[in-house]
């Protein structure tokens, strides 16, 4: 059954590859070449633009590499776009053309391609972008609808989920040409944007419960599929690693700043929540032609989609941004931190009385007696 599926998919892909027209037709539009940056950062871009549509050139390099995914040094044979998990966030405007050069270096061992959820036709471009090690391809598609969208590798059959959970996904943000709007049509701006890509990893364990490591991708494959079929991730992480966005790598902001958080999950559902804050405006399904919801506590990112949340910080301190399946957030890793500078606002919150022993009531009795301390020595 599975074998037959692979064959069918192979035929489907090769049919698309061979029947595709060569992309020689040129558009008479200005071109812009964008240097991508690794998440959680986002390349410089206009939030609204007065310029007409253009061709925006990006380059992604498929990199198969060892990747450490937690503080204990657990390594996986990762597959990445541009070496990061997730791949970089691309930003264009509605009506622009995305022209992507996808490179599969000769050192790699597997074919790769790219499926843009924002693109129309040919499996999101996957059918026109399959490249073997040592090849590259140029794909152009029109960004005809706005929103944040997932992209991912989809080489066919069981290779697709494996490549995706090994790290090959990212997101593109197609902004309305006149920028973001609230539900009443008023313009919305952000002072900074962060891209948080969430990944579920399935690392096989040995009989003692320790994570296994393998000599190569091929050696890892059979055990990896078994682990994936458990549907029980060993790690759920932001930006490829437990702690990738905490401590010295924590995200930063300051009181008064509006931050746009783009969150993608290519494979599995997630529930972002900002502890101590909110989503002022949230495009939960990620598409900017829909009105943003307001004042959300937690929002839902469907597996295979991206969402966007806009929040203006009102209070300094440390904020945890996590998936509010707290087991996944704390035990499996899906937590980021914001360090927010500024001055505390007592009106929003104040500790009226610091913790102290429960005072006795008027009769000198404790209303809630303290249990005898179980103290040694």
């Amino acid at each position: 059954m599975i074998v037959r599926k692979i064959q069918t998919m192979g035929i489907a892909l090769s049919a698309l590859v061979f029947s595709a027209p060569a992309l020689t037709q040129d558009l008479n539009l200005p071109r812009e070449k964008v240097e991508l940056v690794a998440p959680p950062f986002v390349h410089p871009h206009e939030q609204a633009t007065e310029q007409g549509p253009r061709i925006v050139e990006f380059k992604l390099v498929a990199e198969e590499k060892q990747f450490v995914i937690d503080g204990e040094g657990t390594k996986i044979h990762a597959m990445t776009f541009n070496g990061s998990i997730p791949g970089p966030l691309m930003v264009v405007h509605e009506g622009d053309y995305v022209e992507l050069t996808l490179v599969n270096p000769a050192e790699n061992s597997m074919p790769h391609n790219i499926d843009f959820h924002a693109a129309t036709g040919a499996l999101g471009g996957g059918g026109l972008s399959l490249v073997n090690p040592g090849e590259q391809v140029v794909l152009r598609w029109k960004a005809d609808r706005s929103g944040v969208f997932v992209y991912h590798c989809a080489p066919g059959g069981p290779m697709t989920p494996w490549h995706v959970v090994s790290g090959m996904s990212g997101a593109i943000m197609v902004l309305p040409r006149d920028g973001l709007r609230d539900g009443a049509g008023n313009p919305l701006q952000y002072d900074r944007a962060y891209y948080i890509g969430e990944n579920d990893f399935y690392v096989p364990r040995d009989k003692d419960g320790k994570f296994k490591s393998y000599a190569s991708w091929g050696d890892a494959y059979a055990d990896a599929v078994s682990a994936m079929r458990s549907l029980t991730p060993t790690h759920v992480v932001f930006n490829g690693k437990v702690g990738a966005l905490t401590g010295q790598n924590a995200l930063t902001s300051k009181v008064g700043e509006a931050v746009l958080i783009v969150h993608s999950q290519a494979n599995r559902d997630s529930r972002p929540h900002l502890i101590g804050g909110h989503g002022d405006f949230v495009w939960e399904t990620g598409k900017f032609s829909n009105r943003p919801e307001t004042n959300l506590e937690t929002w839902f990112i469907r597996g295979g989609s991206a969402g966007a949340a806009l929040y203006r910080f009102r209070q300094p301190g440390i904020y945890a941004y996590l998936t509010h399946n707290l087991i996944e957030a704390v035990e499996l890793g899906a937590t980021a931190h914001f360090k927010v500078d500024g001055t505390w606002n007592d009106d929003l919150m104040t500790q009226v009385k610091a913790p102290e022993a429960i005072p006795p009531n008027v009769r000198g009795e404790r209303e809630h007696p303290v249990q005898s301390a179980r103290q040694r020595n």
């Binding site: 035990e331 937590t335 301390a373 179980r374 020595n377």
Partner: protein, 301 residues
């Protein structure tokens, strides 16, 4: 509760295995356990009485704001007899085989050259009770003050960052920076015994990658401008102090501390322990203090 258990162990020891009591430096017995056969005690170091500059463990506040308690001089009035090494996995395994300790974490090899790790405070006390019964001596966890005294230059004093106390976020941010700076420095895999060397007291592997439990409970105390306590402290013995490269407050049933969620910084890489042995003269004092402590905790109520 647990003090009662120790009391019984001490009585049994006094009646029975006097031979091992006088031995200050004894090697670990290698013979198999049979019933309640006594074993010789582990290698220990005897420290002479003295004092240590010490900042108390717990949460302290001044005028309702978090504050560091001042450093004070704490006197250790009796000789302190403390294990030279951390308890090894193999030693702990003997207690497991004697059905007196919870099993080691699955996948942990009970190696004789590795410290026992993934040990909760409860586990450490079970081991102390078992070892006391076997040797006839009275073993217990050190207090935090005793640990600091024994650790000497390996004891890490940590004051809160000095920031504007009126803005709760500033301390929070400063503490976050302090804790973040500890990240990524400590490997998790326990090293062989002796890897971290001796301190000036001849104690081995202090403040390596295995933190050590103490008997000290978590306290919260208001202090005045001079650092003197105001009012009643609240004491939570469900959380105990673990010492190592930095001080940690860990629930007594936890075997492995991990970061995550709102928590940051490197938590203790591993939890293990070493014990102190109360001398024969000290045992009576210890019992008296235990009873006093018990009575005072009752009287507080």
């Amino acid at each position: 509760m647990s003090f009662g258990l120790k009391f019984k162990c001490a009585l049994a020891a006094a009646g029975g295995v006097a031979a091992s009591l006088g031995i200050m430096l004894a090697s670990v017995a290698n013979g198999p356990d049979r019933g309640i056969t006594a074993i010789a005690g582990p290698l220990v170091v005897e420290l002479q009485p003295g004092s240590v500059r010490y900042r108390a463990a717990g949460d302290f506040s001044r005028n309702g704001r978090p504050a560091s308690p001042p450093k004070t001089t704490v006197s250790i009035r009796q000789p302190l007899v403390i294990m030279k090494y951390q308890v090894t996995a193999a030693e702990y395994q003997r207690c497991v085989e004697g059905h007196a300790c919870s099993p080691l974490d699955p996948g942990t090899t009970p190696a004789s050259d590795r410290p026992a790790v993934k040990i909760s405070w409860r586990d450490a006390n079970s081991y102390a009770d078992w070892l006391s019964a076997r040797t006839g001596a009275l073993y217990r966890l050190p207090t935090d003050e005793e640990w600091a005294y024994a650790a000497a230059s390996r004891f890490q004093d940590e004051a809160l960052p000095d920031v504007d106390g009126g803005d709760p976020a500033q301390l929070w941010l400063a503490r976050y920076e302090m804790e973040s700076s500890r990240e990524g420095l400590i490997e998790k895999e326990p090293r062989s015994i002796g890897s971290y060397g001796a301190n000036e007291n001849g104690l081995i592997d202090l403040a390596g990658n295995v933190w050590e439990w103490t008997s000290t409970c978590f306290v919260r105390q208001a202090i005045d401008a001079n650092g003197q306590p105001i009012g009643t402290a609240t004491t939570n013995c469900g959380v105990r102090v673990a010492e190592g490269r930095h001080r940690a407050y860990v629930p007594e049933f936890v075997r492995d501390v991990r970061s995550g969620g709102c928590m940051t910084g490197a938590p203790p890489a591993n939890l293990g322990f070493r014990l102190v042995r109360d001398g024969s003269r000290d045992r009576l004092r210890s019992l008296v203090e235990s009873v006093q402590g018990f009575l005072s905790s009752v009287l507080v109520l």
